[in-house]
């Protein structure tokens, strides 16, 4: 197991390197694009352009430029914006990160609970009405844009029914956990539900299929022949084995969420997380901030995937050897 963890993180480091090189190449070595002008923003003076060229070593060889970029991003962490002059990028990201994490982790908790419950209920009630219902939700969930669903939520809670059943919903925005846990919860509730709604259906559907397969497996027959209760067979044997594929799916989705739907959901709900930061910097074409967000975001996703893989190996002993 230790060996597996070490190997998994070693490969994560390699992937991180590859990703940082790709980001570097995209931003600094795309043919026909002048990186200095892009970084400095629109209508920058020649003085600023020269400063940028010096800061990122734009007339020096590629490996040195790569090193300089990484140094500004991770070692000195002194990357600054040229749109909002002098604002450091990295502190902005580290300030925004907890908000994004609150959003994503909370949503993940909800969708895992709802998804697993839904899947178990559907598998235990095969062929009854809940079955096609979950099927339908699963299809709907992969067809709805997250940010749009967020807007629908906002429309319902902030406008259409705000004076009646949703009077308790606070306006879009964010209150930190340390300021007021209950406000934090209320502000994040609908963003969580939005994201969770997208994934819970898929998870219930996938888990149902896995459980139905598992319940036909030989080992379930063995478990029954051992005289175990139906409940124990379902939870300790069939569900335990089905969770393996759910966890691997979770690894993919969690990563995709950080770099995708969460970003858009933050914008819609006015949460000042990394997604919002990316959004505003895209509006301003504030390249250093975008670069920072992309790099930190990608790194986080790769590391999160590595953690999920370790969890996966913990759940499935067969993987540890491979």
């Amino acid at each position: 197991m230790i060996y597996f963890i070490v190997r998994r993180f070693a490969s994560a480091v390699l992937v991180l390197f590859a990703i940082s090189v790709s980001v570097f190449l995209i931003f600094f070595a795309t043919p026909g694009v002048d990186p200095a002008a892009r970084i400095a923003g629109r209508s920058a003076s020649a003085q600023v352009l020269a400063h940028v060229a010096r800061e990122f070593g734009l007339n020096r060889p590629l490996p040195i430029r790569y090193w300089l970029m990484m140094e500004h991003l991770f070692i000195k962490q002194d990357l600054t914006s040229y749109v909002n002059i002098g604002v450091r990028v990295v502190p902005q990201i580290t300030q925004a990160a907890p908000i994004t994490l609150s959003l994503v982790i909370g949503a993940a908790v909800i969708w895992m609970i709802v998804g697993v419950l839904g899947g178990v209920v559907a598998a235990a009630n095969q062929g009854k009405f809940i079955d096609p219902f979950i099927m339908f939700i699963g299809i709907a969930a992969v067809s709805v844009p997250a940010y749009w669903l967020g807007e629908v939520m906002n429309l319902l809670t902030q406008s259409k029914f705000h004076s009646s059943i949703f009077a308790w919903v606070p306006p879009p925005g964010y209150v930190s956990f340390t300021t007021s846990p209950s406000e934090w919860f209320l502000h994040l509730l609908f963003p969580w539900l939005t994201l969770a709604a997208l994934y819970a259906g898929i998870y219930a559907r996938v888990l149902r299929a896995e459980l139905v397969n598992a319940l036909n497996e030989d080992y379930v027959r063995t478990a029954r022949a051992k005289g175990l209760s139906e409940r124990r067979i379902l939870f300790r044997h069939a569900l335990r084995c089905s969770l393996i594929s759910i966890v691997s799916l979770f690894g993919l989705d969690f990563g995709a969420l950080i770099g995708g739907a969460a970003l858009l959901t933050e914008v819609v709900f006015g949460l000042p997380g990394v997604g919002m930061l990316t959004y505003t910097s895209l509006q301003n074409l504030d390249l250093p901030v975008i670069m920072g967000c992309v790099m930190y975001g990608a790194f986080f996703v790769v590391l999160a995937n590595a953690v999920v893989d370790v969890l996966y190996a913990y759940l499935d002993p067969r993987v540890r050897l491979a």
Binding site: A225, G227, L228, I244
Partner: protein, 334 residues
């Protein structure tokens, strides 16, 4: 007066409602298993032998299945009991060994965990004692270094070793009856012999009865005291092992026995039963074996009853005299 049989199966019938009509997988199966007796059930694949024993323990889960008849275990009717009522019987007084050891164990738990789970379910031992018993059992079934192997996962064992684990599991709660469904089919030949020896040895130690299901007459010859030959879901001959092998009465049994390769073979070619097993969906109205039988007569359009003396019954219209003639011709080819 012989003691009451441990297991009494009477007129067991299992049918599945399918789109093409009712499928009778088991049709009127009756047999007894005495104390410490080993009964073999033999037949080609698809003859309903596995379904028959799965149905006894409520392991046939298909919703379209109908099971009728009677199965008395230690004098108590167990057919139609709920899962909850069957729990103490399954794995407690009746242990089961399955055909494919590669898939019979839950892949995500150590073999020790799975053994302990069953031991604690039935014997209510504390954890440490259950683990001790698990190690003991693994040793008894011939797994080397059981103390460390107990914490290994199924995928770390070979097929033969896994089957030993499954046997250890089946025996863990001192069952009165052991049901083995093709326990050696998935194993290679040398391992097969070892597993059979092991089962015989353990049967002696644990004083249990065994029902062994197989399509291999060799296994029957080595293990069984009494044999039930099944064809298309119906019993066609029931006899003591020695009688069956020496004086088989049913043409299907002849076919099975003749299809066993023998070192003292008088024939150049191995004889086989012509044709394929019939589909239980369109059984002929009379004897199910008639379409493949070399000695088919007009009478075979009616279903023959199981008849004969108490220890040897079969279902065939051939008269004793006819059978003697036929067998003599076969034994001494010109």
């Amino acid at each position: 007066m012989p003691e009451a049989p441990l297991l009494q199966v009477r007129d067991l019938t299992v049918s599945f409602a399918t789109r093409q009509g009712a499928l009778r997988a088991v049709d009127g199966l009756s047999f007894d298993v005495g104390q410490k007796e080993i009964v073999g059930i033999v037949g080609e694949s698809g003859s309903g032998k596995s379904v028959a024993i799965y149905s006894m323990l409520g392991l046939v889960r298909e919703k379209n299945a109908t099971i009728t008849g009677s199965v008395l275990f230690e004098g108590r009717e167990i057919l139609g009991l709920s899962d909850k009522e069957l729990q103490p019987i399954r794995g407690g007084s009746i242990g089961m060994i399955f055909q494919d050891p590669m898939t019979a164990l839950t892949p995500v738990y150590t073999v020790g965990w799975q053994l302990v789970e069953q031991i604690r379910q039935h014997l209510h031992l504390p954890k440490a004692a259950a683990r001790q018993r698990a190690i003991e059992l693994l040793g008894q079934v011939g797994i080397p270094d059981p103390k460390s192997r107990v914490d290994r996962y199924p995928h770390e064992f070979s097929g033969g070793m896994r089957q030993r684990v499954v046997i250890a599991m089946a025996l863990s709660c001192n069952p009165r009856l052991l049901i083995a469904d093709e326990p050696t089919t998935a194993l290679d030949v040398t391992t097969q012999a070892q597993i059979l020896d092991l089962m015989l040895k353990l049967q002696d130690t644990y004083d249990s009865s065994i029902v062994i299901i197989t399509h291999d007459m060799g296994v029957i010859a080595e293990m069984a005291h009494r044999v039930v030959v099944m064809y298309a879901g119906r019993p066609v001959e029931i006899a003591r092992e020695l009688d069956l092998v020496r004086h088989p009465r049913h043409p299907y049994t002849w076919g099975l026995l003749d299809a066993v390769p023998r070192l003292d073979a008088k024939h150049d070619r191995l004889r086989t039963i012509r044709g394929n097993a019939v589909s239980p969906l369109n059984l002929p109205p009379g004897c199910a074996f008639a379409p493949r039988c070399d000695y088919v007569m007009d009478q075979c359009a009616q279903r023959p009853p199981l008849q004969g003396d108490a220890d040897h019954v079969d279902a065939c219209w051939l008269s004793d005299a006819q059978r003697v003639t036929i067998r003599q011709r076969v034994e001494q080819p010109s």
